[in-house]
């Protein structure tokens, strides 16, 4: 592998990692702050991608589709938290797993009813369609760079929101001690609803910006969900910083697992076993630190 290909793969890995971060950060926030294990989180990613697909057709512009899609995603998040998730705070994790598994079936099947089971493509917006030439034969698409930039901006924005604003302070306080925050006169239910909607919006937005490069297909949500679980486990539950580091790590491991070739004793290990690589990484982290890289205890 020469330097240019290597660099392109590094960029791809980071870009995939940043995308994973958008989905995983919502998952880890909902887990860490609300104590809810949300299997349907991947479905929101899928919902985002399908919203981008259908709204872009309707408006004729991906930008308008994204704006409209985020509004719809926030509305879905608020509604779901109000109707279902809020009933689960005092229930065992088991019932959270069950209910959100039921939601996956509903979202998957609604998708099948409304859009069918075909794979769809979404066009890259006109202004980002260019590629940056690296050598005579290699180039890197601008859209992928734009994706990474957007993800980084969102990550910084989230960091500032949680660490530097009053709202973020109440959210962190709510994660530490729900009852105390409530007795100080803060509406914790509203706070949780906002956090959940934020998580849904982030996952859906990730689906929207990924739609042009990854296309839109059935089952895309579950695929992302399980990888994001690995990200959250490696990073440590509730840690946005951990999610960032773990997501980039996973992005790179997964990308290089697919392009490298490795043979040991005549047995082809890579890329054949690339699908397993991230789980091996997770197992290694668990052995060393069962609570994840930035977790606060098992």
């Amino acid at each position: 592998m020469d330097t240019n290909t290597f660099l392109i793969q590094v960029l791809n890995g980071i870009q995939y990692g940043l995308l994973l971060f958008l989905v995983a950060s919502g998952l880890t926030l909902i887990l860490g702050i609300m104590g809810i294990i949300n299997l349907a989180h991947g479905s929101f990613y899928m919902v985002g991608a399908y919203l981008a697909f259908s709204l872009a057709q309707h408006f004729g512009s991906l930008w308008l589709a994204m704006a409209g899609g985020v509004v719809i995603a926030v509305a879905i998040g608020l509604l779901l938290e109000w109707l279902l998730i809020s009933k689960l705070y005092h229930r065992d994790h088991l019932y959270q797993v069950l209910l959100t598994y039921g939601l996956i079936l509903i979202f998957e099947e609604l998708r099948s009813v409304v859009f069918g089971d075909d794979v769809h493509g979404v066009a890259i917006p006109e202004m980002l369609r260019a590629s940056i030439p690296l050598t005579e034969t290699l180039s890197y698409p601008v859209y992928r760079l734009w994706m990474s930039a957007v993800c980084i901006v969102l990550a910084i924005g989230m960091y500032l929101l949680i660490q530097k604003t009053r709202l973020g302070m109440t959210i962190r306080a709510g994660a530490a001690n729900r009852e105390m925050v409530q007795s100080l006169g803060i509406n914790i239910n509203l706070l949780y609803r906002l956090v959940f909607a934020l998580g849904v919006a982030l996952a859906a937005f990730a689906g929207m910006i990924a739609a042009p490069v990854a296309s839109v297909f059935p089952g895309m949500g579950n695929q992302v969900l399980i990888v994001c679980f690995v990200v959250v486990v490696i990073g440590g539950i509730g840690s946005v910083k951990g999610a960032m580091l773990a997501a980039i790590l996973i992005g790179l491991v997964d990308t290089f697992g697919k392009v490298l070739t490795l043979q040991i004793g005549g047995v082809q290990l890579l890329p054949e076993l690339s699908g397993m690589m991230i789980y091996v990484l997770m197992a290694a982290v668990l052995l060393a630190r069962p609570q994840g890289l930035f977790g606060k205890g098992g």
């Binding site: 797993v97 069950l98 598994y101 039921g102 609604l110 009813v113 076993l273």
Partner: protein, 331 residues
């Protein structure tokens, strides 16, 4: 329910299942065989979820692996030897559970749920992406295992009635075995771990070892179910160890009422019948409801979680009050 009444109900169910092949058609015998296989699978998970307090979302790994072991033991058109391949399949599943258990039991709570899922997914990719067993297309098990002992064949699994009775016998055996295990000092310890692991540790029990034994046992029993599922269906694919399978069996355990064993059986029967019922629904107003049965299943699950906090067995709560004894009498 009082103890003697529970025993009576169970024996009545067993008798009804034993009499079923006398009057049922082949289709229903095979359907009930499938339901009983899934009931064994669900009971093995109940041992973890309901009794030890370990919520595993990757239990299908052990179910699926045993199926693949059978497929390997019966290459091409040759039939496998039941007495060799069944213990082998269960041992492989148990061994896998040991390896996975060493890792996952270092975690607890939400981590445990996610990590079991991730490990099962790892196995899924192993069978899905490599060519070791047919890849994504799966692999056929052409002939059912032969149960010959030195030339004498007590039963043949090719016969669907024989197959039915073998599975029924195993279902009863696994139920009785798990009941005895749970009544033993070992069973008391694992229930104690679910209620308060810290206290059990303080009392001097090495809870990690107890949990690991449970995990391995549950894995081996799931392997038994997976073996017979593969033998009955005649086909193994990565789907058998997918997380939909894990989620489905968890659903059976919880909806049936966990921590009761009989609830797991009830849940397995109920879920499969419900699935068939939904699939049989007609086209209404241009929408094929039967084809989109998962929509109804999802809605049912959501409603069940919100309305039936203790599973289908809690429907008994709606019985007239004067007949009801305190709810805690599940055992």
């Amino acid at each position: 329910m009082s103890h003697s009444r529970t025993t009576f109900v169970l024996l009545a169910c067993l008798l009804a299942l034993a009499l079923l092949p006398l009057f049922a058609e082949k289709y229903y015998i095979q359907l009930f065989t499938k339901m009983m296989i899934m009931a064994i699978f669900a009971m093995s998970l109940d041992l973890l979820v309901g009794f030890t307090g370990l919520v595993s979302l990757g239990h299908a790994a052990f179910f699926g692996l045993a199926g693949y072991v059978l497929a390997y033991a019966a290459p091409q058109y040759q039939a496998a030897d039941l007495w060799l391949s069944l213990p082998l399949a269960m041992a492989c599943s148990g061994l896998l559970a040991l390896v996975i258990g060493v890792f996952v039991l270092r975690t607890s709570g939400i981590y445990f749920i996610m990590v079991t899922l991730a490990f099962a997914q790892m196995l899924f990719f192993l069978f899905h992406d490599t060519k070791i067993a047919g890849g994504a297309d799966g692999i056929y098990v052409y002939a059912k295992p032969v149960a010959a002992i030195a030339g004498w064949e007590p039963f043949t699994l090719e016969n669907h009635v024989h197959f039915y009775f073998v599975v029924l016998a195993l279902l009863a055996l696994v139920y009785a075995g798990l009941r005895m295990l749970l009544a033993s000092p070992f069973g008391r310890v694992i229930v104690g771990i679910r209620v308060n692991e810290q206290r059990m540790r303080t009392l001097g029990y090495r809870t990690y070892r107890y949990k690991l034994v449970c995990f391995v046992l549950a894995g081996a029993l799931a392997g038994m179910a997976g073996y017979f599922a593969a033998a009955q269906f005649g086909f193994v694919s990565p789907e058998t160890l997918s997380w939909h399978q894990s989620g489905g069996v968890l659903m059976m355990v919880i909806l049936g009422g966990m921590g009761t064993l009989s609830g797991a059986v009830l849940g397995a029967f109920g879920m499969i019948l419900l699935e068939l019922g939904f699939q049989g629904l007609p086209v209404v107003g241009g929408m094929d409801i039967g084809k989109h049965w998962q929509l109804l299943m999802g809605g049912f699950i959501v409603c069940a979680v919100l309305l039936l906090p203790h599973g289908l067995l809690s429907l008994g709560r709606f019985a007239p009050r004067w007949r009801r004894k305190p709810v805690e009498a599940a055992e």
